[in-house]
Symmetry: C2
Subunit: 336 residues, 2 copies
């Protein structure tokens, strides 16, 4: 097996941007792209018009048409497929990888019902133990525009952290390391729920105070859920927690924010999701967190409010009023 | 002594907004305003044109011309003067208050050289022990516009927290309580430094990823300084830490952000401060934190970078390059 390449599975904006960083860092990067036209366009014109229309890709980035090719040729593989397809793609990958390969999940979400994180699915579906997560405040278009930014590579295994950082770290894409992979994954997943909430506030023309209150209380919810599954609270004050939360809740480049913005303007969910034309993970993550919180008796009022808006046709005004309760509370440990 | 009133010292935008909330909550609110014209305008037209030109004030809000009147008539007094005048006003207040009165500081900063917090100065200059701080993501204009928001009342004394919350809590101005007054004051003060940094990034047209990275690393600096003076790390994940940081770093309504924005556009500090026409506390706070960090050997690279820009005429490009170092680091405990 040749392992001179690094690979990415998933040719969306995030997967393409990661593959492009790997390629620009002087590595031969393989990108598995399901769609034939996109694949041909990447290899012929070095562009991915559907997701990143404004940018030229590295000529060291090559689109391939099978998971197998990435699995057989790459020592480091990054998964950047939608979470709804994650287990299926991981299973296919599992047919070809060997135990010494390193796999990072860049997909942000939980499996429905099981509430499993993506690295848990990787361990179940492949023979690789050396898995980790890549997460942080990383809007793909800004990465492509060479805006300075930072990300986190997280794993229980130092070897994974070092290999990931070694491949990905660049002058304008600074990698921080974290051993708390659980916290990094929970943060990356849950922030999409609150991006929808922030988008709703934006669509309703609320200001910065309201936004900051929501984002801050959102962080407290993330910590509560994270601690229940073994994460460290301190991780949530880092790039994959607060950092990603800020960027996703504050930028119109964020898909989940845009979904919320449309809802805030009074549009229907189906309508805004269709107009987006890409996956907005937050809709699914809201359901996963709702299921988990119900089962565990966790207090996540904003996530529950979003669940009622997204899945039970609750009115936004009613949910907002419910969240702005009348009693003063202690800030930390504000259980009901 | 009649103590039926509540009082605010300082007729800037923040002091006026607080006094207006107190008045709208059904209390007789006295606002000490130094400037004669502003005082007359508030009492005659119920407006404060210089600071809050778009808004009508409550008719239960009365501007008064001495600190003494507030001290003699109010059971609860909020200090909202610039930190540069804080000790002087506190000393004057100290001549008139009695030990059972409650004083909250809404001023955000440290005393130069001594690095004392405002509640420490209150204890030194008055006979009142029952002091606390009021801080949070609270842009005055958005409060006046009745945007829903939240704030923190912090004190070591439950009685202070309860009196403060009782007077201030309103349906659209939700009060959270916190016993860690040190953390709340450090957060409120330091965020202004990072607002200048964020403004610079904005002025240089950097995007949301860069902003989120900066704000997240800023929080780590705030925690380091806070813990050195006895604050709890968890307070910084709350409204007076992260919440206020987000709002101040993300809104063009923030004065300190505007100072940074002008610097990022290549203007001189004197020029942007003059154009602002109000106090931007961050310039002074940067110096106070620099002095303290030097003395204590604390690692606060963003604050130090801002000090070099504001006080040592360092070039912004040079400082930015220094902050984006080349090595991957662990996220938590990333001491040099």
């Amino acid at each position: 097996m040749s392992t001179s390449c690094v690979g990415v599975l998933g040719g969306g904006s995030w997967g393409t941007a990661i593959a492009n960083i790997l390629a620009e860092n002087g590595q031969r990067a393989l990108l598995y792209v399901k769609d034939k036209e996109s694949r041909e366009e990447i290899n012929r014109d070095h562009r991915n018009t559907h997701y990143l229309p404004e940018f030229q890709l590295s000529t060291s980035l090559h689109a391939v048409d099978t998971v197998e090719e990435v699995a057989r040729r790459c020592r480091l593989i990054v998964m950047a497929v939608p979470t709804s397809a994650f287990r299926e793609v991981a299973r296919e990958l599992g047919d070809f990888v060997q135990g010494d390969q390193i796999i990072l999940s860049a997909s942000k979400g939980f499996e429905l019902e099981s509430f499993k994180r993506m690295t848990e699915i990787l361990k179940e579906e492949t023979c690789c133990k050396k898995v980790g997560a890549l997460s942080g405040p990383n809007l793909a278009k800004e990465i492509m525009a060479k805006q300075p930014c930072a990300t986190v590579v997280a794993s229980q295994y130092r070897e994974v952290i070092q290999a990931g950082a070694g491949a990905i770290h660049a002058e304008r894409f600074r990698v921080y390391l974290n051993e708390d992979v659980v916290g990094v994954e929970v943060g990356g997943a849950m922030k999409n729920i609150y991006a929808i909430a922030s988008g709703i506030l934006g669509g309703l023309a609320f200001g910065a105070n309201t936004e900051a209150m929501t984002v801050t209380r959102a962080l407290a919810e993330m910590v509560r859920v994270g601690e229940r599954v073994g994460a460290k609270a301190s991780t949530f004050t880092g790039l994959a927690g607060m950092g990603d939360l800020i960027v996703t809740c504050g930028s119109a480049l964020s898909r989940n924010y845009r979904v919320g913005f449309g809802l805030g303007q009074g549009k229907k969910l189906e309508e805004v999701v269709a107009a987006l034309g890409m996956t907005a993970e937050g809709v699914r993550t809201t359901k996963a967190v709702h299921q988990f919180a119900q089962r565990e008796g966790l207090y996540v009022p904003i996530a529950e409010g979003m669940y009622r808006v997204l899945y039970e046709q609750a009115g936004i005004g009613e949910i907002m009023a419910g969240l702005m309760t009348r009693h003063a509370r202690y800030e930390i440990d504000d259980l009901p």
